[in-house]
């Protein structure tokens, strides 16, 4: 007689090991399994809400893949690409480069939990999570590869994470901290609980809504499909957190949540904030980045905190203040240093500025003068005086330029440790560094490396060092282009 799923699933998912040749601590060393190290009894009530068998997983995923591939076949016609807004295409390039191989790193992280998670159900979910992340790597690589025919810089879908490009180094620093270099417990909290339950909804579902209105239906469908997997393996975080809190690790749990909230915020304002409000065509903008953050991320996050009786991060007021400014400040930096990017950027036109001011009533007063000045420089002298020639200070934690919060209010600060002075964009970044200095202290930002002579200071050579073959691969103003000769070195005797 064939057993029904409900008869065996609960038993099967909780089948676990009783080690006899080694002790439990050797089987699950704390260095990889995580802290606090608790005996298995503490973990035995680890339970996920949404349960699936491997057979169900394979069937569901096969259907999802068939749907994605079907849409791809239907929509991969040359003229469809030509009809996409040129700035939107840059958003896809930005997203692809920043995300594709992060997903692959996520697979490594899930596999770490698949081996070193402290409960069998956790390990099973993580095994399926690893398969999810492999899928999430393959999809953007596939779509990015299709798009190579139209824009060679979609090569950065794969290439980005193998370069020293500064935005990518910031992403790698974050994701190494969040999961690649984290033990199983920390990564469950940082990746599954904070990042996936909180932020990735914004990147995938909000972007999907905008992609629909930008008429990029293939991208929309792939994002939505990816997010359905995300919701499943993101649930790993909740029971891990619950176990930590039940076993006296409230302080550590609060720290991990605070840290990863701030670090995720930094990534999202840079990638999603600028993408939504400077690369998405006006008619496709369903809401502002701040509105999305408030509705999709903050509300959910606060609910999660309440569920676990955790406090809002200590820097909450600063975060709220930054919602109105930080991504706009970052866009100015992206524009000034656009030749160091693998995607193009925009200077907002009059209609876009009006929209921005409508959503952020101080935008015109704070940022208007900078953009007007750039327009004037284009008209008066051409491209050269719209580019930036000196280096920006880079934060030694998040690796982003020290331009927060906004013009007229800069929160950069420093710290001296063992004879070296470190620069940070904000108090939270400095605080995170101080909490885990041994982990972060040896790292050098791009600026540190230039000043130490380990990376070139000359822009034409820095492009190469970052993996950008000028001028073809370097970023430019979407509407105005880039003079091709501009990045050629001047010949010397």
């Amino acid at each position: 007689m064939v057993l029904r799923r409900d008869d065996w699933h609960d038993l099967a998912r909780k089948v676990d090991w009783t080690p006899r040749y080694v002790d439990e601590r050797e089987l699950f060393p704390p260095e990889i399994s995580g802290h606090p190290w608790l005996p298995h009894e503490a973990w035995q009530d680890w339970n996920e809400v949404y349960r699936t068998t491997y057979r169900e997983y394979v069937a569901n995923q096969r259907d999802k893949d068939a749907a994605v591939l079907g849409v791809r076949a239907a929509l991969s016609k040359p003229r469809l690409f030509d009809e996409l807004d040129p700035a939107w295409v840059q958003l896809v390039k930005f997203h692809n480069g920043a995300i594709a191989l992060v997903e692959y790193a996520g697979a490594v992280a899930e596999l770490r939990m698949a081996r070193f998670g402290r409960d069998s159900a956790w390990r099973t979910m993580a095994t399926l999570g690893a398969l999810d992340e492999i899928r999430h790597t393959q999809i953007p690589l596939l779509i990015g590869h299709d798009l190579l025919a139209y824009d060679g810089n979609f090569d950065w879908t794969h290439k980005a994470f193998h370069t020293n490009e500064w935005v990518i180094l910031a992403a790698r620093h974050l994701f190494d901290d969040m999961f690649l270099a984290a033990d199983a417990i920390d990564l469950a909290i940082q990746l599954n609980f904070v990042f996936e339950t909180g932020f990735s909804n914004l990147q995938f579902m909000a972007m999907a809504a905008m992609a629909d209105r930008a008429h990029h239906h293939l991208f929309e469908k792939t994002l939505a499909s990816i997010q359905t997997d995300e919701s499943r393996h993101a649930q790993i975080g909740h029971p891990v957190l619950r176990t930590l809190l039940e076993n006296g690790s409230r302080e550590r749990a609060q720290y991990l949540v605070d840290k990863m909230w701030w670090r995720s915020w930094r990534l999202f304002l840079a990638l999603t904030g600028t993408g939504m409000e400077y690369l998405t065509p006006l008619e496709a903008r369903t809401r502002s980045f701040k509105e999305f953050m408030t509705e999709w991320v903050i509300e959910q996050f606060v609910k999660n905190l309440e569920e676990f009786d955790l406090e809002r991060p200590w820097f909450w007021d600063l975060f709220v203040e930054e919602l109105d400014f930080a991504h706009h400040s970052f866009q100015l930096g992206l524009y000034a240093y656009r030749t160091t990017l693998w995607f193009d950027v925009t200077l907002p036109d009059a209609a876009e500025r009006a929209w921005l001011n409508g959503k952020y009533p101080t935008w015109n007063e704070t940022y208007g003068p900078f953009w007007k000045d750039l327009e004037r420089r284009w008209e008066a002298g051409g491209e050269s005086s719209t580019l930036s020639y000196g280096l920006p200070g880079l934060c030694n934690l998040c690796q982003l330029p020290t331009l927060f919060v906004r013009p007229g209010r800069n929160t950069a600060c420093t710290l001296e440790r063992d004879g070296r002075r470190y620069l940070f964009c904000s108090e939270p970044c400095r605080w995170i560094f101080q909490q885990e200095s041994p982990k972060f202290a040896a790292h050098k930002s791009v600026v540190d490396r230039i000043v130490a002579g380990e990376a070139p200071g000359k822009l034409t050579e820095l492009h190469k060092w970052m993996g950008l073959e000028a001028p073809v691969e370097t970023g430019k103003d979407v509407r105005r282009g880039l003079d091709p000769w501009r990045l050629d070195p001047i010949p010397r005797a």
């Binding site: 400040s329 100015l332 930096g333 000034a336 900078f370 000045d373 930036s388 020639y389 000196g390 280096l391 920006p392 200070g393 330029p401 020290t402 331009l403 906004r406 013009p407 007229g408 800069n410 950069a412 600060c413 420093t414 070296r420 002075r421 470190y422 620069l423 600026v447 000043v451």
Partner: protein
């Protein structure tokens, strides 16, 4: 000795990396940051502060003013 410093001008949006011999004056340092910034053509007074917010004597050298490797200075433009 050359030092690298991080400078923020009040009319700028970004903190910039400035390298300079530390026996140049604080006034020179301020002018240097302004020249690298977004509005070098704007005239007016320049008040230099260290990270603690203390005003630095424009005639003192960078070293005498206590600015060392990797420190922050701000320039308030009048």
């Amino acid at each position: 000795m050359r030092v690298y410093l991080f400078g923020y001008a009040s009319d700028d949006y970004l903190m910039r990396v400035v390298v300079t011999p530390d026996n140049r004056t604080v006034a020179h340092l301020a002018s240097q940051l302004v020249a690298w910034g977004t509005a070098p053509e704007r005239n007016g007074s320049l008040t230099v502060r260290n990270e603690a917010g203390e005003i630095l004597d424009p005639t003192s050298t960078i070293a005498q003013a206590g600015l060392g490797y990797g420190e922050i200075f701000t320039v308030e433009r009048g």
